[in-house]
């Protein structure tokens, strides 16, 4: 299992890479993996055919068929773009604001004290309840969704940025003073590069939360994008189609996260 590196910021999981297995073992592992997947899909199929109905619990094959149909149909792509629009703008803003606030909080105690409470609230409180409020404020358009994505992700970015800058190796800072580097040079060459791993971890976590925010907004708002498709299919009791859209959303989320993880690895190449 490849869990996330345990930086000061990441969640508990330590870095773990499965030791390279010898050929027979790899074959065994993959066989078991696929067998498990097969068993699950098989159970799903069986349950769908015998227990559920096409209205409440579609069989796996039906869902697969819907998925293929969906992907070849243009509608899903248009809906995806609409959905992603909120993500892109919201996450973009969160990066901007989060990085700025994080850096300010690391540098100025006043900024730190002021922002601490709000960041904590945004990190620990359930934000879904804010959706009706946002709807009341901004209506059911893009703005509410962007706002939710922003609120979901800005805090973790800011906090990780702050921690990263504050926790730079003290001996390096001492060296920098000793060598006569001014504050700006020290920031450019020591504090900021040293903070990058933590910042990237924050970006990764932020991306995850932004995706969640995007999904939550859509499902509750149901007016646009993939959320709307889900609502339509649910209303028409087209369970298989609804399932298929859900899978599309999941794929989008996973893709975004994998991309960010890759980016994170690229930017921390100098670490052991």
């Amino acid at each position: 299992m490849t869990s996330q590196p345990a930086t000061v910021t990441g969640g508990g999981p330590a870095v773990y890479r499965p030791r390279p297995s010898a050929w027979p073992r790899r074959a065994l592992v993959w066989t078991l993996r696929l067998a498990l997947l097969g068993a699950l899909l098989g159970t799903w199929e069986w349950m769908g055919r015998t227990q559920g109905s096409q209205f409440t619990f579609p069989a796996a094959t039906d869902v697969a068929a819907s998925l293929i149909e969906l992907l070849s149909d243009g509608e899903v792509w248009a809906a995806t773009l609409v959905t992603l629009e909120a993500f892109a703008i919201g996450f973009g803003l969160a990066l901007l604001v989060g990085l700025t606030v994080g850096m300010l909080a690391a540098r100025f105690t006043v900024a730190d004290r002021l922002s601490a409470v709000y960041l904590r609230i945004l990190m620990t409180a359930p934000l879904a309840p804010l959706v009706p409020l946002l709807i009341g404020l901004f209506g059911i358009g893009l703005t509410s969704r962007v706002a939710l994505v922003f609120l979901f992700s800005v805090a973790v970015i800011a906090l990780n940025t702050r921690t990263g800058i504050l926790n730079v190796d003290r001996s390096l800072l001492q060296m920098s003073t000793s060598v006569g580097a001014g504050e700006w040079l020290t920031f450019r060459r020591v504090r900021f590069p040293g903070a990058v791993p933590s910042i990237m971890a924050g970006v990764r976590l932020g991306a995850g939360r932004a995706v969640i925010g995007m999904v939550v907004a859509e499902l509750i708002l149901v007016q646009v994008g993939l959320g709307r498709l889900i609502s339509i299919y649910r209303g028409r009791f087209q369970a298989a189609d609804m399932f298929a859209v859900v899978i599309v959303i999941l794929l989008i989320g996973v893709t975004i996260l994998l991309t960010v993880k890759w980016l994170e690895r690229r930017m921390t190449v100098w670490k052991e």
Binding site: S171, V179, A181, L185, P193, W270
Partner: protein
């Protein structure tokens, strides 16, 4: 430049340390005295070691000389000028190397020059020259993590030499290295030093290292750190590795060991 076999340094004091005290305030608001009445001179172009057990304040003293830490009583002056902060006349070599892991070896060595405002080409050229002095020219594009501990410390040394300081301050520079590397680097250091004869203040807790490298050794007592004794190393400057087997060498080591041992047995903790 004086020749290799020349008499011990010139006798003119470059660094004057007079009755320096240093106090710390602990978490529970108690007063901890790290240094008490430290007084000695460092002569121009001499290699002087500060020897003492862990916790005696020798690293603190070095930081005071560099201007990184303030002091509470007495005075510290270099060439007559009191020390108020770090300056271009001093450079430090750190125990755990303090290299920027995200910068190449060359950029690491050039960093102090960048701090002085030198342009890119100029500082890289000077950095290259320094790297050549320590024999690491081929590694200029490497990242620190690809180098061994000994090599990393040589980069640290190159960085200190790159600014051509009057005083080289070395804070247990070989403390984080294994014994074999340490011996090798001691010789390297003497080689490099003999070319230029900068003034060196070398902090260590290893007696043989202090005797091997220095002209004089300041022996310090455990906290509160005081100057216990200043020992002249009367061995010829033209030393080889075999000097460690000579009776003079071992007499000096033995003497210092006894001085240090007396502190511990006097009940003063070395922590």
């Amino acid at each position: 430049m004086e020749g290799v076999g020349a008499p011990v340094g010139s006798s003119r004091p470059l660094i004057t340390i007079d009755s320096v005290d240093k106090h710390y305030r602990t978490r529970s608001d108690a007063d901890l005295q790290a240094l008490d009445g430290i007084t000695f001179d460092v002569r121009d172009r001499e290699f002087l070691s500060i020897l003492g057990p862990s916790g005696c304040g020798k690293s603190t003293l070095l930081r005071i000389i560099d201007g990184l830490t303030s002091y509470d009583g007495g005075s510290v002056a270099i060439d007559g000028e009191p020390v108020t902060g770090p300056g271009p006349d001093r450079a430090v070599v750190f125990q755990n190397f303090a290299l920027l892991p995200w910068a190449t070896v060359l950029d690491n060595v050039a960093f102090p020059l960048e701090a002085r405002g030198l342009g890119g080409r100029e500082r890289r050229d000077q950095a290259r020259a320094a790297l050549q002095q320590v024999g690491l020219s081929e590694f200029e594009d490497h990242y620190p993590r690809t180098l061994s501990g000994g090599m990393q410390q040589r980069v640290g040394l190159a960085r200190a030499l790159a600014v051509d300081p009057r005083v080289l301050l070395m804070d247990e520079p070989f403390g984080a290295l294994d014994a074999l590397t340490r011996t090798f680097l001691q010789d390297e250091l003497l080689n490099i030093w003999s070319r230029d004869r900068k003034t060196v203040v070398f902090v260590t807790h290893a007696i043989d290292e202090a005797v091997y490298l220095s002209d004089r050794v300041v022996v310090m007592s455990p906290r509160p750190g005081r100057v216990a004794e200043i020992v002249d190393v009367t061995i010829d400057r033209n030393r080889g590795a075999d000097v460690r087997d000579t009776p003079e060498f071992n007499e000096l080591v033995g003497h210092m060991r006894r001085v240090l041992r007396d502190f511990v047995s006097d009940g003063e903790t070395a922590a």
